[in-house]
Point group: C2
């Protein structure tokens, strides 16, 4: 059964993704594959420390700043009569649990620190507005008292996007926006919906589903992430091949900057009235202001799905077939979800299953000369039976390019478990297995070489001794880990365009003594390979602190200057999310 996109889940714990529960633990298939790969038992690791053992720095927020924030969040308390106001119900918390929960995103190095109870930083307070109307006053208080503001939605950043950095300010708050989650309006004629930015994926889909619509933006973080976070990070979802990425879906957006509101869009489906500033806000990662309201294009909720899977003799052959589908087919031929796994990822996926079906599939492919298959999964969805016609037309093109049909079962299985991978990471870290992902995108003409180069770089960095490479990293100074043999370096395409595709890599190895140094070593090698190939440093994970040093490679020094100038104009004192996107120099 396909995952329910309206299903809400408990808030993620401070040390990872999944709530620990009775059904936790590593799936047996994964455990077996890893044992085979490691040539024996799993390395063994540790569980997260209890919250009480987590070491938090003392808050540095002055009492004046605290009082100003409390007044800003609850203007009614100071108002005549003290009655409820538009902003009532907001809060300012300095409780450890709140600070801990807002101390980091879900970057693997973040989680490693959090699990060990050693967060490197924490916000001095967590501010929860109950109305978008109070946000200008909160920002004004922060300007006056020199407090940095980290807009905080689902907290799922994997690039340090919500790290509680002060920049040049005296203190830092996390501005938790998840209380601002209302559907402000749904225009069924225009098929647009306006939401407060703090709404999470499942609540957004539930609100739309009750009226027969969907946004269709479903990144792996969907169950925790917020619409504002999608916009801030220029997010793409698992079905972006069909629905478009968030930048394609946003028709209007409003941010509160420290010097006024910027409200864009809504006047028509398109405009030639100068540059499209929506694209300056989308991807601005909270450095210009707080995204408070987003209007998105919505579609009828799909009632029909068609699944299909095809095996190719190699990743390169599969990529050629997907390119043909994108370029020769009509737009409707491409499935909403289009994922092509490389040989390694396909092998590991198949190895997790011991079912008769999987064995038969292997034999069927062997008979057709496909020994190391690369599997393509497609999900077509819509409101009419035309989804099956679309699949049929796509199948014709895919078969012409060497695809061997393997039923829809693998695609349907993927659809069932589509939001599960982050939970798996928690379980792997618990048993001492180091796992992370990174992504890029490349034009078709360089896709295969980029794929090979990045896989080789990651593999090389995992296999090489860590002592020397890690010596530049503060976190690795304490240890000199033995080189680790990678269990897997695998990749896939999951976002398909006419001119190229995304590339997503997962790497799995035994954790070294200092896994953060291990991470840094791998990431540095991968980044260098990506840049050497002329590919983008991130397709959908954003910049944060992680890629800030590479931004100039991407947009040049003039591009960086333009972003700095825009930021300086709207946030002259540099309170907005310091250290992200533009790095330390952005204040």
């Amino acid at each position: 059964m396909a995952a329910d996109v309206t299903e809400t889940v408990p808030e993620a714990p401070w040390w990872g993704w999944a709530p620990q529960g009775p059904d936790g633990g590593l799936p047996e298939g994964v455990r077996r594959v890893l044992r085979e790969r490691f040539g024996g038992e799993l390395p063994g690791g540790t569980a997260p420390v209890p919250a009480a053992e987590a070491v938090l720095p003392d808050p540095t927020l002055s009492s004046e700043a605290l009082a100003a924030l409390i007044a800003a969040v609850n203007p009614g308390a100071d108002g005549p009569g003290g009655g409820p106001s538009q902003g009532s119900g907001g809060s300012v918390s300095q409780r450890s649990e709140d600070r801990l929960r807002h101390a980091a995103g879900k970057h693997t190095p973040d989680l490693l620190r959090q699990r060990a109870g050693r967060p490197l930083a924490a916000p001095d307070a967590v501010v929860r507005p109950a109305s978008t109307a109070v946000i200008p006053a909160i920002l004004a208080a922060c300007v006056t008292h020199r407090v940095a503001v980290v807009p905080f939605g689902g907290g799922t950043s994997v690039v340090g996007g919500v790290a509680p950095l002060r920049g040049s300010q005296h203190a830092v708050i996390a501005l938790d926006l998840t209380g601002l989650a209302a559907l402000r309006g749904l225009n069924e004629t225009d098929r647009t919906a306006t939401f407060e930015a703090g709404i999470r994926g499942p609540a957004l889909e539930a609100a739309l589903a009750s009226r027969g619509f969907t946004l269709g933006h479903l990144p792996q973080s969907h169950q925790q992430a917020t619409l504002g976070g999608y916009a801030a990070t220029r997010s793409a979802g698992q079905a972006s091949t069909g629905y478009g990425a968030i930048a394609d879906l946003i028709t209007g957006i409003r941010i509160e900057t420290p010097t006024g509101a910027l409200a864009l869009g809504g006047r028509g489906p398109a405009s030639a009235a100068g540059p499209d500033l929506r694209h300056l806000v989308i991807g601005s990662e909270g450095t210009l202001g707080v995204i408070t309201e987003v209007t998105v294009a919505v579609r009828p909720r799909p009632t029909q799905k068609a699944y299909g899977s095809w095996a190719f003799p190699s990743f390169a052959a599969g990529a050629e077939a997907v390119r043909a589908l994108a370029q020769l087919g009509l737009p409707g031929d491409l499935p909403e979800v289009c994922r092509l796994s490389d040989e390694e990822e396909t092998g590991l996926t198949l190895a997790q299953s011991v079912s008769t079906g999987t064995k038969l599939l292997r034999r069927w492919l062997e008979m057709r000369g496909i020994h190391t298959p690369a599997l393509l999964l497609g999900v077509w969805e819509g409101t009419t039976t035309r989804v099956r016609g679309r699949r049929g037309r796509a199948a014709k093109i895919l078969r012409r390019y060497g695809g061997v049909p393997t039923t829809g079962i693998p695609a349907a299985a993927w659809d069932d478990g589509r939001f599960g991978a982050p939970r798996l990471r928690d379980e792997l870290l618990t048993v001492g297995v180091f796992v992370d992902t990174l992504e890029t995108a490349a034009p078709w003409s360089r896709l295969d070489t980029t794929h090979r180069a990045v896989v080789a770089a990651i593999r090389g960095a995992l296999e090489v001794g860590g002592g020397e490479a890690g010596s530049a990293q503060p976190s690795s100074a304490a240890s000199s880990p033995a080189p680790s043999s990678p269990a897997a370096v695998q990749g896939h395409v999951s976002h398909v365009y006419r001119d190229g595709a995304s590339l997503y890599f997962t790497f799995i190895a035994a954790a070294e003594t200092d896994p953060i140094a291990q991470y840094n070593r791998v990431k540095r090698a991968a980044n260098a390979a990506i840049l050497a190939q002329g590919a983008t440093i991130t397709h959908h994970h954003a910049v944060g602190t992680e890629h800030a040093a590479m931004l100039e490679d991407e947009i040049g020094s003039v591009g960086v200057r333009v972003l700095r100038a825009a930021r300086a104009e709207v946030d002259p004192t540099g309170i907005m999310n310091p250290g992200k996107l533009l790095g330390d120099g952005n204040t």
Copy 2:
């Protein structure tokens, strides 16, 4: 026969659009309709004055500035050995003919001044680089000598985008980029092509056609306009419903600013590395720098076309049908060209023909209760017979929404004459008929009311006495024209989106004594109606000088501040196209 998109035409004359030729003159059908509308003979007007009678201001360029520009354009002349250099072949001209030709765009008030030999301004020199490599040196010379730079492509702006304004500088040059017209590369795998920005529409399509590709961006200005101009003005074409507007087609863009180059895109089909600065450059109208190179997505050149036309009982009914097509159909159902004329436009189009076919069509529609039809034209194109299947699926939806099929003939006839309207304007001005167009876009939910409101505003402004309304306009101070009765105020939708559509208006009346005052009165009334409806001030004609005062209505004061800050960062002395986009305050 459909218009040949690779057909090159002579450069437009300085006073209008069409080259005067033996086959000039007003088509008889148009002449007859106008006579009927005016209730007698055409008002009568005047031909453009000979070039020798045009009054040009004396150039203000200093001899030092002139020498610096000559050195910058032809660096080889100063180099060792004086041999040919990368930039050789460029020129700096102060000839009257060159200055006259670069004195204005194709805005109706521009043309009225030009035809009367009273250009209000002219560039002090026309600089023609022969290589993009010399552009940084040209800009440096302009910064040193305080010379404003107007990037000049096809010169087809209808919003004053190439007006030779000095801003705070001592002089102004037109930087004519039409010599920079090379195809730099065509990547058949990625289906992207990189051009120098000065290439005109037909040359661009011819270069692609020889390799089997098309861009498919075909505004009415196609035969004169350049790719750089498309990018600078955030252009949309007649087939943008199918191919996307220029902002959708540009995958990479390079501009030279006075403080360095900004090269964007090319690293992959998408990126989350911060804001997408391409969208800051697209629509920047030369205020940030000179667009030198543009990479665009290309498609196989269409070999199959399918035409279809449907009549609706009203414009509102037709708009509902088009909305259904955009929202219920698959992307491929929408035709590449989708035009819905209102009742007035349909009536005038049909009235131009006295053929038996047109008479039969009218009777056929009358029998079906359609007395004032609104006609929808569709052109589907592609490389396979699937275009006919697409038309068939669209027809099903259109019929369900009340569309009466009227054969493909009207759509094919439109395709034949698709680039002809600007020439018609020249002929109308010559016989004393005042004609112009303006456009907006609105969400579906406000499309019909916006259409009605703008038509009423234009009609009202034409019918009302001009003396009082025109008194605020300097150009009308000398005369007190009699109120004019409009010959026609007609509208159509020509760009269709899921959430709304464009609206394009044409108004035709007897020219008043001061037709510029007449224009200003109409335009002011239309703008007020557009803003009151919450629609955009321009869908595809850009801002220029014409809409600069309305930019703040569109993007707010914070938006304007951000654009000013970006400009100040890359062009601190304000040489780039002063007075456009941001108005007089942009330097």
